[in-house]
Symmetry: C2
DNA sequence: TTCGTTTATCGTCGATTAACGATGATAAAT
DNA sequence: ATTTATCATCGTTAATCGACGATAAACGAA
């Protein structure tokens, strides 16, 4: 069906999914790494470092902002982007908790 | 354009993106949590716990397998799914490293 | 062999995504 | 008042996703 059933899952599951989805494209991973390395970046610098067009970078930044992972400050004609530290911490907490669940060797099967 | 440019990013960026994308849907997060809790599950049990149809669960399991996060063992007519521990560890390592990059308060801007 | 159970796959649909170029908006600089 | 630089947004195209029902395949049991 066309209707997404996301709303039938728990808030935590949805929050994790939103963050993970934002990390689910190599361009966005690359953008986050650049931002983390340099602490901040104007959009133009990102475009120069990436193999995609300015409008596409802008789109990806928009999605990262929507997921709460990135902030943008207007600074004259340019925009300075940085990691959103609150969102970043939240991501670390949620994904960390999920992946910390240590699956023991399976019980009934040979896995 | 229609051409995806994923291949123009580094292998690490793509690997992170593949894993994150697999985590980017609440149903798949829920499935992984169920598997981690119980160590293993037949598909039918998952279907009963989830608000989506059997075919959709099967699809999600296929994607989780493709991302290396889940394994399936055929056991007679049923299939026993478990967390793929190698993939799980890899995910923890890659996402952990990414999120461990501690962005310091930004330099040039007010973020 | 045939039946019931379980899972995978197929076909379909609407929605979303990724990407681009072109255009628009804003602010500094001339 | 123009120009220039920078970034966002719009419109478009094609691919992918999410979901379902229906069907097929695999297996154990009768």
């Amino acid at each position: 069906m066309a209707f997404h059933k996301r709303e039938q899952f728990t808030a935590a599951e949805q929050e994790i999914a939103v963050i993970a989805k934002a990390l689910g494209h190599p361009a966005r991973v690359a953008i986050l790494q650049l931002l983390a390395q340099r602490q901040s970046c104007v959009c133009g610098e990102l475009v120069m470092e990436l193999p995609i067009s300015q409008s596409t970078v802008s789109q990806h930044l928009k999605e990262l902002k929507a997921a709460g992972l990135v902030q943008g400050e207007v600074d004259g004609p340019r925009v300075c982007y940085c990691i959103d530290r609150a969102g970043w911490d939240r991501a670390r907490q949620l994904l960390g908790n999920l992946l910390a669940e240590l699956p023991l060797p399976a019980a009934g099967c040979a896995c």
